[in-house]
Symmetry: D2
Amino acid sequence: MCRWAAYLGPELFLETIVSAPCHSLVAQSHCALEAKTATNGDGFGIAWYGARPEPGLYRDILPAWSDPNLQSLCRQISSRLFLAHVRAATGGGTSRTNCHPFASGRWSFMHNGQIGAWGKLRRRLESLLPDALYDQRQGTTDSEFLFLLMLAEGLDQDPFGAAARAVGRVTEVAESAGLSPDLKLTACFSDGETLWALRHASDGLAPTLYTAQTPSGGRCLVSEPFDRSQSGWQAVPPESFVAIRPDGMTLRPFVPASFRLARIA
Amino acid sequence: MCRWAAYLGPELFLETIVSAPCHSLVAQSHCALEAKTATNGDGFGIAWYGARPEPGLYRDILPAWSDPNLQSLCRQISSRLFLAHVRAATGGGTSRTNCHPFASGRWSFMHNGQIGAWGKLRRRLESLLPDALYDQRQGTTDSEFLFLLMLAEGLDQDPFGAAARAVGRVTEVAESAGLSPDLKLTACFSDGETLWALRHASDGLAPTLYTAQTPSGGRCLVSEPFDRSQSGWQAVPPESFVAIRPDGMTLRPFVPASFRLARIA
Amino acid sequence: MCRWAAYLGPELFLETIVSAPCHSLVAQSHCALEAKTATNGDGFGIAWYGARPEPGLYRDILPAWSDPNLQSLCRQISSRLFLAHVRAATGGGTSRTNCHPFASGRWSFMHNGQIGAWGKLRRRLESLLPDALYDQRQGTTDSEFLFLLMLAEGLDQDPFGAAARAVGRVTEVAESAGLSPDLKLTACFSDGETLWALRHASDGLAPTLYTAQTPSGGRCLVSEPFDRSQSGWQAVPPESFVAIRPDGMTLRPFVPASFRLARIA
Amino acid sequence: MCRWAAYLGPELFLETIVSAPCHSLVAQSHCALEAKTATNGDGFGIAWYGARPEPGLYRDILPAWSDPNLQSLCRQISSRLFLAHVRAATGGGTSRTNCHPFASGRWSFMHNGQIGAWGKLRRRLESLLPDALYDQRQGTTDSEFLFLLMLAEGLDQDPFGAAARAVGRVTEVAESAGLSPDLKLTACFSDGETLWALRHASDGLAPTLYTAQTPSGGRCLVSEPFDRSQSGWQAVPPESFVAIRPDGMTLRPFVPASFRLARIA
């Protein structure tokens, strides 16, 4: 399990969300309150959008709480759209290429959750990727795979559909392997213009997700509130799909695509 | 605060104490039970004696729980005398040179505790070191300083006396700076033949220290027991000085040297 | 390209070959003389055999010349059989999982060379691996793949045949992809008892390989001699397969397996 | 020895100087042409000014050529004033706190050169620092010391005078220790408004320094030109002190302060 935070709105120093608040994401790397594990010390990362269509990316394997580079970058860099993540490894060793966010072209992606029985399913799942995306794989995590699978399913054209189909594919592969699907997916991704998030679990117990307006006039999405005194935190319900744009937030129910029914019909 | 473990006895794979038991030192890096902080994720180190008079040294800044090198080294290396440490930084950044154990010639040293108001006292204290030892300083911690100070006070000739005088010096400097002495010192050190440990605090609240005989016929010293089911753990009382040699353990009360009284007399 | 060194014989401190000589492997990380690149600063690793059947493994991403842990480990650890490697990345980022040697069970493997057009062939080649070995893949290099492929081809039963078949498979896949085979393979591997090495290139220009008896009464295999003053260095000819055991060295011509001919017949 | 590059002018992506040109600073980390050592692989750092008076700081111990974070940061961050450095260690281990640039308040500093016999002079020199600056010391290099000494000598009020006095102090201490002064100092520093540089050596053989106007309408200072095809590189003469402001560059002879003469008079 992991913790993450994201922001879209008027340009803001990253520290406003990532490192300055009393229960900031960096503080959550040490003592998260709503995660299965309080410690999220297996690396971290930030992706932020600026003048280019592609995000900048800074990831390292130290605990977020002890990295002076992260402190300095979050103080110095301001952005209208950024993603930040602290990791508690569930599978895949501690390496930079296994740290979130992942980036591909203008897309960035980060995740809190896991594909159950990843070790047993990895090869079958990776075979779903087209060559061009398979070649982009740098690490060994289920999370990076999910990002590439969503790209393969058309993230560029239809984010909701791509997420729904990706979840459906994972479910299908697990079932075809004789396993009960076991997917937890509280993920966040962006193309540099819109911020999307998804809260889903095959057992209904998806990791937490909250949203709030910020004093800057923007909106953030977080695994857990970074400031208990700030009012206005809203829990995103399970099985939801969120889209945040400069003009507001929309929220709709998330329904995975069902490939079995499709085939039966 | 930190956690540590040490061993003297018939040659043993390091993993027997460091990484294999259910509540091993590596497990304590993630969830210590008797420390002020459960997480000791700011680096780690091992020092072990083999065929040479000097110890081997392996230290790194990752959390002990996520370092595959540490796992492999502890499985492969066996030793008749070793020290191992997981760090929770109280002062001094996360760097290899701030990780314990420290080594100098045939000596090794590690520590759980701190010198209160280190920032205010650092310069005065460092000025106590003779040139040759000042030049050996690689990091910025109070712990490395205490090791060098004990060497300066004659660790080679008289370990008990050197520890007593080092504590006395720190006390003297704090008082001369108008501060209440605030020293916590549960330390362990060796010259490759004997294993010494000290449990002291100026307020009487020294970090915990336990000892037990091992099934291998040796003896270990630990911040907290690594195996709850193993009987025979013995708490080392506060204000004690322990010496372990192949032929047994001795324990005597620890009394810091008092330089003020000396001067009055 | 990379540099490596290996030893089999009476127990020896690793530093005797890895770090102490004037042109040791560590010195070669900074200024190799017979490699395409003088600098081999993209990480390093050692694998050594002791009391267990499996090797110990220490790998890190710093240049070998600046790692104090490596210096200390090589001074402290002695072994009858070890492999050591310094890396100049040709493909695959700088990460611990991309550092040599690689280990699996009692086997260890390291490599100097590359599979040409690895990016284009990676997916086809990885599909050759059986599930159990595919699951062991931790990094993204062609070198780790070659090790797993040799294991898949029966390294345990027939090292020469496994190497010959692995080279044949890579050649076959390159040709089936419409590419000229371009494989350089000066590799070294061990099961903890015997040390094997291979010097092969599809264009006849394989990286250099030397061997010599050591004053300790053992034998070493190296990319380039570590001591110009030591007489007795013998260049291993291209297209050779070497086996070193406590009772001596054998050398035979290496001929890749030809699957096309096999199919024609 | 090391290599560095700095820029002041209209906002520019850092990559324009640091990583994109054929002989960029990152390329120089691998194969510098005018340095004593071609390889500058012992860490790197960037300091850049943005909306705050203090610089952002990113430093790490990998070789610059292999750090994907550095690549991404230099592509994403633009700045009107930045310093960048690749290190070849002459003294002081490879650690982040020994990497340049160093920062204190709004000041940043980086250096190519060394204080001869640093090991023998370190303690005497460090005793020159006032308490507040001594407490800021994080690493063990002569370079960080020179920065702190210049701050102690009044960098805020009089950069030229502070540099002249710092060089004079080091000379004085070396002579009082019975050593011939041996200082090489091609340094660069900034308060966020002006960029200063100094080229000095006690033996007249100071490391190289060049300057050129950039197509962006700004000016850069570099250890060696990053683009051989770009015309307009101007070698800064030895014993010079350079100041670059948005309205232009001034260059004056550098003369160390002489404390001996002062005392005689």
